[in-house]
Structure formats: C-alpha cells, structure tokens
Amino acid sequence: MSPLARTWRWIKAHVVLGLGLLVLVYMFVPIAVVVLMSFNDPGKSKNVYKFRSFTLDNWTNPCHPAGMCHAVGLSLGIGLLATVVATIIGTMAAFGLVRHDFKGRSFANTVIFLPMASPEIVMGSSLLALFISGSKIITLGFWTIFIAHVMFCLSFVIVTVKARLAGLDDNLEQAAMDLYANERETFWRITFPLVLPGILGAALLAFSLSFDDFIITNLNAGQETTFPMFVYGAAQRGVPMQVNVIGTLMFLIAIVIVLGGELNNRLKARALAS
C-alpha cells in the first residue's frame, strides 16, 4: 500500500472523531476566554473586551467590584436552598410516580414535562403576573426567586430520579423483604442507597440550573441581585474582570466533583479487580 493510500485510509477512519473533537474544541473556546480574561489587567482602558496585560490581581481581590461577592453569596444561598427543597420534593414525587399506580398518573407525567417544554420567558413572566396580582401579600425578592427556582428545577429532578428508579430491579427489594427486612429497613438499606447516585445527579443539575438562571430570576427578583443579574447589569457598562474569576472557579469546582467521582469509581474497580 502506498503511503498516500495509507494516509487516506487513516483520514477516512478518523474523520468523524476528528470533526467531533473539533466541535468539542468549539464548545471550550469561550471557557478558555473566561479563564484567560480572569488574568487580564484592563488598566484604565474602557475596552474590557481585549486582553491587555497579565495580572493576578483579579484572583487576589475577587471581591473588589462593589456588590459582586454579595451577588455570588445570594446565588449560592438560593442555589443551595432551592436544590435541597427541589431534590426532596422531586424525589418524593418520582417515587410516587414510579412505584404506585393511581388515577391521573399519565396526566401528572404530562404536567411535569410542561415546565421543561416552556420557554423561560413565558414561565418567568407568568410567575411575575401571579406575584403582581398578589402584590398585597407578596414582595418580590429572595423568596420569590426561591419559589421560581424550585419550580423550574422540580421537573428536572423528577425526570432524573425517575429514570434511576425505573432502572432499579424490583427483585432486589423483594429479596430484602424475603431476607427479613421490613418495609422501612428495605427502603433505607436497599432502595435508597441504590437510587442515591440518581438523587445526587439530580441535585447537581438543580444547583447548576439555579445558579445559572437569569431570565426567570431577573423578572422576579425585585430589588435583589443574583450573580447572573450582576453580570448582565455589568455587561451594559463594562464587566469587571473578577466575574471571570468566579466563572473559572465554578467551572473548576464542577470539573473536580464530576471527574473526582469518575476517578473514584475507576480506582475502586481497579482495587477490587486486583
């Protein structure tokens, strides 16, 4: 075979993988820019869309821009609270939907799908319409953001936990009952540990949805400012470089959590295989 033909064969065999990796690179270009800009020193320049010179100042003084760290704190607080509530309520609902046959189950499944299929602007504006009509007892702020976040996270939690539950072999619970575990022991020793990875995955998803949401939050936040709202507001004037520090940190933490889990699994498997 001539070298040319061999090269051609190699290209043919790897073209799809190559194109796929190219798409992945495209997905990471903006993140690379975020990381890069977290080391940018814009000086007195108004043009925050150009890399001027390298500095560590943004990393050493992340809270320098007024209000930014407060916004990050608010986002973290709402994110954690909404995640806990949505995960608990959603997990309960997933159990109800998968484990029990009742009237209106398919209707309930449809209603759960709807929030995922509605544009955020419509959900956000309709919630605002509700809050406005109840403006005598509701003031926009922390709790309205919290309510909205639990609402849109709920469907994602239910769908994720449901998938995990549906994949669970119900012989396992029967086997536990057969081995003298009563209903409560069966749940806590068998069902719950086996569904837990699904619940954790759902919680991670809920947190990232909540932390990142702008459209719905912006409509229902009143006087409060979450991190995405801070970024949006700053974008009108000129973004402080420190937001890139927060963006980079979030990305790194998430990667560490996800890759750490994966690595842990692999090490365990290797240790057991030997």
Partner: protein, 285 residues
Amino acid sequence: MPRQGKGRYTAYWLLAPGAIWLGLFFVIPFYSLVSASLFDPNGSVLTGYDVTYHFANFGNAIKNYYPELLRSLWYAGLATLVCLVIGYVLAYAIAFKAGRWRNLLLVLVIAPFFTSFLLRTLSWKLILSDHGFVVDTLQKVHILGSDGRLLNTWFAVVAGIVYNFLPFMVLPLYASLEKIDGRLIEAAGDLYANPFKAFFKVTWPLSLPGVVAGTLLTFIPAAGDFINAQLLGGPGQRMVGNTIQSLFTSTQDYAAAGALSVILMALIVGLVMVYIRRAGTEELV
C-alpha cells in the same frame, strides 16, 4: 412494578408537595398570564388592572411585534438546524468512535454548563468583537469587507444560540445513538456499499427519537431566548423575548406582555405538535 391497593394513598402523599408547588407556581401563573393578556390596556400599576376580555390585545401584539415574532422563530429554527448537524457529528463520534474515552467526552459536553451562561455569551462578544482576531482574519481573506463586522449581526446571534443550546441537542442524540448495536452499522456497511446510504438507511432512522427530543429541547428555549440577541445582536436583531422582557420590566405594559407571551407559547405548541405528528413519534423524552 407499580403497586396497587393500599399504596394508592401513599402515592398521593408523595406527590402532594410537588403537585402543589407546580400547581401554585406553574399552572396558576399560566392562568394569570392568560388573564393578564385580557387586561384592559388602559390599566396601570397605580390604577390597577381589570380583566375586560380585551381580545384586541392579541391583535395589537401581533400587529406591533410581528417582526420580532417571526425573527425569533427563524433564528431558533436556523440555530436548531445547525445544532442538529454539528451535534450529530459530536454525538456520533462519542457513541461509536470514542472507545474508552466515551465517559470523559460526555463529561466534557456537559462541562461548559458549569460556567455561567452569561459569561460564555460575553466571551463570544469578545471573540467576535470588531478588532478581534476572528474579524481581522476574515477581513484579510476578504470574506468580510474592510468595515464588515460580526457583532450586532444576525450571524452573531444565531452563532450564540447554537453555542448555548448545543448540549441540549448532543445529549438526547447520544442517548439514542448509544442504544444502537454497533454490529447493525457494520452489517449495513456490508449491505450497502456506499457509507452514506448505509447511514441514511440504518443509523439515521434508528436515531430519530433522539433527533426529535434534541430538536425540541433546542428549539423551545431558543425561541424564547433573549440573552443572545441582547448581548450579541443590535436593535435589528431583537427577538420576541427581548420585547416581552422590556414590556414587563421597563414599559410595564402587562396586557401587551401577557398577550405576546401567550402568542409565543401558542406558536411554539402549534409548531411542536405539527412537528411531532410529521416525525411520527409521540415519544418526547
């Protein structure tokens, strides 16, 4: 296996909190939105609002904002198509070509989600900015005129939408491609000498559930999005989301905003129903 009998009441107890939450904060608000769309347009925050079944709100909304509505559907549709093409390549590569790197690549698809959506969009603003590397290069090779620009054009907005919603396309596509037995594709390669023919006769039809789910999950949020238009586009690229947002927050014309939201929702539901019927599948996820 679903249990019957006395478990029935347990099911209602388990579902109650979620059902109440979604009922109070999703279903009822939607009802409020519909009633807001029927407000007397002369109301204001100060004087209060009356539901006067003012159906003219809809007519007015369409008359005033039809360019934004059409532009939203056009941008979202175009972005969905581009997402489908490049998302399919990526999902296919991960499902069939990645070998033991499969899980890692999947993590990488989700990873961009973990930096703020707004920050990533602002990055594009920087990448596509007027004296940036991309524009300069394109000007040098005369794809763009010497005063040509990317920012504040339809191209930037659609590119931003494509970028932001790509994972919503890749994940369902991957889920359905992954289920296909690799031997089937090899068999197709034997049967049809032409690899393109093999692809369109075997792989593509088997991946259709993923295609349908992916296009819906991309198109629906894209049609309601306004961040990309706001940050990457100019006044000529306003989408319906921008209009609803400003009607609610700046103008506080709740009647018009409500009517426009209802129209957007109706358009999306209508298009989705036609699409699902034509794609011949009822399976959404």
